[in-house]
């Protein structure tokens, strides 16, 4: 279980990668990736390594969205695994997040 983040060379995109179980135990580490970022950034959250995601993780994503300014394109959920994609669909996250399946 880990959270890593890196900012693109141009300083506009923050790549956040989460691996393993995405639940409340990652809350501090996840928040640390964006709390000091100025407004106007784009966040790409790489979910390709996540095999479990619960309601606390959904809440954390909503908080990130709030931080980013509640614009749909500003938070992109990248490559969720099928089981995670199902959870995101149930929660209707595709309506408020860009989900990048490619």
């Amino acid at each position: 279980m880990s959270v890593t983040a890196c900012v693109s060379a141009a300083g506009e995109v923050v790549e956040i990668q989460i691996v393993g179980r995405f639940d409340f135990s990652l809350q501090k580490a996840f928040r640390a990736t964006y709390r000091d970022c100025p407004p106007g950034m784009v966040y790409r959250v790489d979910l390709s390594g996540v095999d479990y995601l619960d309601s606390a993780a959904l809440g954390m994503l909503l908080l990130l969205r709030q931080h980013a300014g509640e614009v749909k394109q500003d938070v992109v959920l990248v490559q969720p695994t099928p089981s995670v994609a199902k959870i995101l669909r149930i929660a209707n996250f595709h309506q408020i997040f860009d989900v990048d399946q490619a």
Binding site: D23, D51, D54, L63, S83, A91, Q95
Partner: protein, 655 residues
């Protein structure tokens, strides 16, 4: 030089002919200083000898002519030296040399006419000797160009022969001079032929040496490339065979020193929840070819294990990678095992490797200590992803049991007579093993003794491990060692678990329970959703029921954090309260129905207001967990004051 024209040397390339000519040219021009010095000296001697019979002006003019020719020729030589011989200038330099020879010969011819005295016999003889010496001396110098020899001889000797021929008594001498002319000409030709042959030989040698040097350099380059590739293969293998991890893993193993070149791969990595995954692979192909496949395989194995993926998904993914990325003749006989000591489970997926052996610490009822687990799948990378069955076999293990895996190098080790070590000897050895290190040592010794006198191929790799003592602590969650056969699995059962405050503080029962349900009911089924639903219901019961946490602050970053800080603090201080989990399973033809009932010691909540419906636009509010659980279940209802929840989940055997 016309005899060296390409048309007459069909076996030589044109540039070689030019090179031979150039070599001869340089010989001509090389001797020019000496020859011109001798010629000038000869002219002066000649003039002194014959001076008294001639007017001084004529002799002086003749000597001046000879000196001028010599100087002109030396001047040309200087030019030649400066310009060198280019392919196109070979002909030009020969012509210029010929002109020089012609002028020089003309001088000597003039001398013959000038100094010949039809009366004075002594003087005639002196003249004959001088001119003959000049003609003979020029042969050596001019032989590189046969036409030059011809011109020189003709112009010097023929006038003399002509002079004698005009006198009746001189006819004999004229014939002699002509004979001398012929002999000189033939010597000139012989010399020329020898020189030309030598030049060719020298040129040929030079090229040969050049070619050899080139080939040697190419060979050297190829060899260093090969070395670099070996080096690369070694370093790739060193990187993907993390010996450090192997050494820290407490496995007893033997990994052939040639593993980088025979394609044996041994990997071990820990699952986040403490399970251990071990992979032993034997790639077709050697060296770099084998490491081509080993890189993705090791990569997938290590990273997926670290991320906590189950064994069957890892098997599937490695197979998919090898199948899609590698050529058809490159695949990997492999065995992947999962040692789950906490749940006393061994999962084995054996694709094309020799049998894996489970050696029990104690005799079982059927009195067999050593259980072989045969390969029941093809090697990885052979079948398309949708055709490979990735589900591992699951066996009960106990602390102290041994697991043994090997590549085919062990049983196929031959002795002097050509007999193979074989399964029987191996099983005998395994039956007497008590610990992993001892087993590895005795097997190494047995193989060495068996193959005495035979050159050891050193292409065998094996690993033995002992199931750790933690298995004993929690081993009794299962009613019996060994899962019931598949036909009995998914039977009807009921489980009731009551967790009091001390247990609630320390234990997260959710993954334990879903693992248990999976193992008991259908190990092959993906129980991820059960994990999630049970997790959400348990979280609600614990956080809102027992810990009385209020979610209403969770819509800000700080509130979210405060919530989980409060959760941690209250949980640590908890000394009263309980959660009861009751699971009931009914089998049906399609799979089964699982009913989960959770009761907590809290005071309940207004469940009619909670649990929004799926389909609504998500808002930053609580209640999402319940919504998720509701969407994944076939039914979810709260009872009483809300402190009791019952959820029903249906699972299908094919999904």
């Amino acid at each position: 030089m016309s005899d060296l024209a390409p048309s007459q040397s069909v076996d030589l390339p044109p540039d070689l002919v030019t090179a031979v000519q150039a070599d001869l040219q340089s010989q001509l021009y090389g001797n020019l200083v000496i020859s011109q010095a001798t010629a000038t000296f000869g002219a002066v001697v000649c003039a002194v000898l014959f001076f008294d019979g001639q007017p001084a002006v004529r002799v002086a003019a003749w000597v001046t002519y000879m000196v001028l020719v010599a100087m002109a020729r030396l001047g040309w030589r200087a030019r030649y030296r400066a310009d060198g011989v280019h392919e196109r200038s070979v002909r030009y330099w020969e012509l210029s040399f010929m002109a020089g020879v012609a002028f020089s010969a003309l001088g000597w011819g003039t001398a013959v006419v000038m100094f010949f005295d039809p009366v004075d016999v002594t003087r005639q003889l002196l003249l004959v000797v001088t001119v003959a010496a000049v003609a003979a001396g020029s042969i050596a110098h001019l032989s590189a160009s046969f036409p030059a020899v011809g011109v020189m001889l003709s112009v010097t000797l023929l006038p003399l022969a002509l002079m004698y021929a005009r006198q009746p008594e001189g006819l004999g001498l004229a014939v002699l001079i002509l004979l001398f002319f012929g002999v000189m000409l033939s010597i000139g030709w012989r010399n020329h032929a020898t020189l030309r042959g030598n030049a060719r030989l020298a040129e040929g040698n030079r090229r040969l040496v050049e070619q050899l040097t080139e080939h040697a350099a190419a060979l050297e380059t190829a060899r260093s490339q090969d070395d670099a590739e070996r080096e690369l293969a070694l370093s790739v293998f060193a990187a993907i065979l993390p010996r450090r991890i192997l050494e820290a893993s407490k496995l007893s193993y033997h990994l052939s020193s040639q593993s980088a070149f025979n394609g044996d791969l041994l990997l071990v990595e820990n699952h986040p929840d403490g399970r251990q995954h071990i992979m032993l692979g034997d790639f077709t192909g050697h060296g770099l070819a084998a490491s081509l496949g080993a890189i993705p395989a090791a990569d997938v194995f290590m990273s997926m294990t670290r991320k906590g993926f189950p064994l069957r998904m890892i098997v599937g993914e490695i197979n998919r990678k090898l199948y899609t990325q590698l050529p058809a003749n490159l695949f990997c006989a492999a065995c992947l095992i999962e040692v789950d000591a906490a749940h006393s489970r061994l999962r084995v997926w054996n694709g094309g490797l020799p049998s894996v052996y489970l050696i029990r610490r104690q005799q079982t009822q059927d009195d067999r200590r050593v259980t072989p687990i045969h390969a029941d799948h093809p090697p990885l990378g052979v079948l398309p992803p949708d055709r490979l069955i990735c589900t591992p076999r699951s066996l009960a293990i106990d602390a102290g049991d041994l697991v043994f895996m090997a590549t085919d190098g062990v049983t196929e080790q031959r002795d002097l007579t050509g007999d193979m070590f074989g399964d029987e000897r191996l099983v005998q050895l395994l039956a007497s093993a008590t610990d992993a290190a001892g087993l590895a040592d005795s097997l190494k010794r047995a193989l060495a003794t068996f193959s005495t006198g035979v050159e050891q191929g050193d292409d065998l790799t094996f690993v033995a491990l002992r199931v750790g003592p933690e298995a004993r602590l929690q081993a009794r969650t299962l009613p019996d060692r060994g899962l019931p056969p598949a036909s009995v699995q998914a039977a009807d059962w009921r489980l009731r678990l009551e967790l009091q405050a001390p247990a609630l503080r320390r234990l997260d029962p959710v993954s334990l329970l879903s693992q248990f349900v999976g193992d008991l009911t259908a190990p092959a089924h993906d129980w991820n959703e059960l994990d999630l639903v049970l997790g959400e219901l348990y979280k609600n019961a614990l956080e809102h029921g027992v810990l009385r946490l209020d979610s209403s602050g969770k819509h800000t970053d700080d509130g979210f954090e405060a919530y989980y800080r409060a959760r941690e603090a209250r949980l640590a201080a908890l000394d009263d309260g309980h959660v009861t989990v009751e699971l009931t399973h009914h089998r049906d033809p399609e799979g089964g129905v699982l009913q989960m009932t959770l009761r907590d010691s809290g005071s309940g909540f207004d469940h009619r207001a909670a649990g929004r419906e799926s389909g609504e636009v998500p808002r930053l509010a609580h209640g999402r967990g319940l919504m998720l659980a509701r969407s994944l279940c076939q039914g979810l209802e709260h009872r009483g004051d809300g402190s009791q929840v019952r959820a029903t989940m249906r699972w299908r055997a094919d999904g």
